[in-house]
């Protein structure tokens, strides 16, 4: 059993170790500029490689991923900002305002949204959302970009947060609820003062889960993001690229590099995505344990 439980962390370590070893020459080639430069260029893959900074790479090759980091982080955080109030509203509505008879049916509908394949959200984005943004909001008339990606992501993650929160709300002990009512609290105060503080840790957990999904989302983002390249977004209508969609869309071109440096650079991109997700999870652990402390002190 111990062996089995160690299998998953071991597999994770193996993946990270592989990425690290495989991308090592690229890390050496790009240095810290990999994270801070906005320009990504595979270079001239058809010509003979040239000696650049001690390594044979295609002429003109340069690898900078700040644009993709910005696209990933911004679209995910805007998605969270849109999704959190929606999810809290939906969860409270389902827990408090809906008769227990139809609650299972409604909550099942919310859960259903969570299992819709991302390509379906992407198609909805292309055919419905993008024309709407283009006609009514965007100053350039072009709907592709950061806002479209964020809204699509928000829709994908809302059910994750809402269902996690709903489960937690349903488990708040009856006594807490009823004693708050007995003290003369309004329904709003019961929810906001007696129930929500008890589920704060779960809410944060749900948000982190959702953020993890948003950071790694590939297909839906690729379809609506506008594929920003070599420029940082300047407004919510700017085209962006996320790290995950950049990887899947450019691995094929990278394979044409006879020196293999492009594929190694893409492995390094994957490594960066892994560490971003890790950092988000670590931050969430700290945040939610903080929330637990608050709850304990209140008791």
């Amino acid at each position: 059993m111990l062996g089995l439980s160690l299998l998953i962390p071991a597999a994770l370590c193996a993946v990270v170790l592989f990425l690290l070893i495989y991308s090592w020459p690229a890390i050496g080639f790009s240095g810290f500029g990999f994270l801070t430069h906005v320009n990504w260029n595979f270079g001239d893959l058809d010509d003979d490689p040239v000696l650049t900074r001690g390594l044979m790479v295609p002429g003109g090759a340069s690898y900078g991923i700040l644009v993709f980091i910005a696209g990933t982080v911004l679209s995910s955080f805007i998605a969270i900002i849109i999704a959190v109030p929606l999810s809290i509203g939906a969860a409270i509505f389902l827990a408090e305002a809906v008769s227990p008879k139809i609650r299972p049916a409604l909550s099942m509908l919310v859960e259903l949204v969570a299992v819709v394949p991302s390509i379906v959200f992407g198609l909805w984005g292309i055919w419905v959302l993008i024309p709407l943004i283009g006609h009514y909001l965007s100053p350039t008339g072009n709907g592709y970009g950061l806002l479209a990606a964020s809204i699509v992501l928000a829709l994908m993650i809302t059910p994750i947060i809402a269902t996690t929160l709903l489960d937690a709300l349903m488990q708040v002990p009856k006594e807490n609820r009823e004693s708050a009512f007995a003290l003369g609290a309004t329904h709003f105060e019961v929810v906001s003062k007696a129930m929500m503080p008890m589920v704060r840790a779960t809410l944060i957990g749900g948000i982190v889960l959702a953020l993890g999904r948003a950071l790694g989302e590939t297909m839906a983002v690729a379809m609506v993001s506008g594929g920003g390249f070599n420029i940082l977004p300047t407004s919510i209508f700017s085209p962006i690229s996320s790290i995950a969609s950049f990887i899947v869309n450019n691995l094929d071109s990278a394979e044409g590099d006879p020196t293999n440096m492009a594929v190694r650079a893409i492995a390094e991109v994957a490594l960066v995505l892994f560490f971003i997700t890790l950092a988000v999870n670590a931050a969430a652990k700290v945040l939610s344990s903080g929330a637990l402390h608050v709850r304990k002190r209140q008791h």
Partner: protein
């Protein structure tokens, strides 16, 4: 280690099958050997048609096709993970130097249209330098003097141009950027060509995924311009997009009609070298459409087993002969290889041993 082991095992299996076939002496040779094709998404639908057609006369043929992308097709064929790599581009000089046994064999002829969304403008002339100026952000309005000069008598609106490009690595980006490299010196010295281009940032531009994404983006945005593979021609027309006439190497504006694509193919047919790695982009010749390319099979001439080599030869021979009939090619708007090129491809196929 693992790969070598698998190879040995499959070689043994292939030899065993070859032995059985040899003993029975009745069945057509090699047809039982399983083949794997992978690569270009543009060639994928055609490969599926070919496999169906091939199996009609060789019911035991076992050919798996997958759509992964030209880069993956070439890379996996070199590594020996697949038998036939499908690619919109021939192997680069540097890759051939590193892998001298790999062949680039043309199977059919494809091309690309430049489509635009300008309601009211039914015909439009464009050139390499104009497209280069649009895709680098130097020309931003449709009534720019540069475009107007190429279109006397056409009333062009003052609409902002929305350039649409592929955000995924693509053979279409490769041939589009090859046209710009061949026809515009500024583009040739900076951005060059490849399946992914380091696109200069332009306000309002769109990166779209796949030919389907290009079509959706162009159809939804008046003022847009996009390069889309010719196999999408009927869908592009149904969406109401215009098709631009492009300036060829002789200064004529030509549309991607079958006759003009064939003219480009014919002009290169006699100068195609024995290894068939030649660009048909911006070819000289009367009415030669400038964005035309061979679609390639990437195959290792040095096969591990004779039975596998035979099966590859049989299938590719079918593809360039019967498979070049209009009944197959019409469905994707490809054109057949000119006779001299078919001869060269047959000679290369014969090298697979």
């Amino acid at each position: 280690m693992q790969i070598t082991k698998t190879f040995k095992r499959s070689t043994v299996a292939a030899l065993a099958i070859a032995g059985l076939v040899g003993f029975s002496g009745t069945a057509k040779a090699q047809v039982d050997v399983p083949l794997v094709e992978s690569g270009s998404s543009l060639l994928y639908p055609l490969f599926n048609l070919w496999v169906q057609g091939f199996q009609a006369s060789n019911p035991n043929a076992d050919i798996t096709t997958t759509s992964t992308g030209s880069g993956a097709g070439i890379a996996q064929a070199i590594k020996g993970l697949i038998n036939i790599g499908a690619s919109d581009a021939y192997m680069s000089d540097s890759l051939v130097k590193a892998n001298p046994t790999m062949l680039s064999i043309p199977l059919a002829i494809s091309s690309q249209a430049i489509n635009y969304n300008l309601p009211g403008v039914s015909s439009l002339n464009l050139s390499g330098p104009i497209l280069a100026a649009i895709y680098t952000g130097k020309v931003t309005k449709w009534n720019d003097p540069m475009i107007a000069a190429a279109n006397p008598g056409v009333s062009l609106p003052a609409t902002t141009i929305i350039p649409v490009h592929r955000l995924d690595g693509s053979g279409d980006t490769f041939i589009f950027s090859q046209y710009l490299t061949a026809s515009d010196s500024g583009w040739a010295s900076t951005l060059k060509y490849g399946t992914t281009i380091s696109w200069p940032p332009i306000a309002g531009e769109i990166g779209a995924k796949g030919n389907a994404g290009m079509l959706a983006a162009a159809a939804a945005n008046p003022g847009s311009i996009a390069y889309i593979g010719i196999s999408y021609a009927s869908k592009v027309a149904a969406a109401g997009l215009g098709q631009a006439a492009l300036e060829d190497a002789d200064g004529q504006y030509v549309l991607p009609t079958p006759a003009n694509i064939a003219a480009a193919a014919a002009s290169v047919a006699n100068t195609t070298p024995p290894d068939e790695r030649i660009s048909m982009i911006f070819a000289h010749g009367a009415n030669a459409y400038p964005i035309v390319n061979y679609e390639y099979a990437i195959v290792d001439s040095n096969q591990q087993a004779a039975a596998v080599a035979g099966a590859i030869r049989d299938f590719l021979t079918f593809a360039i002969t019967e498979g070049n009939n209009a009944s197959y090619l019409k469905q994707v708007n490809f054109l057949p290889l000119p006779a001299p090129v078919e001869t060269l491809s047959a000679a290369q196929i014969a090298k697979i041993q």
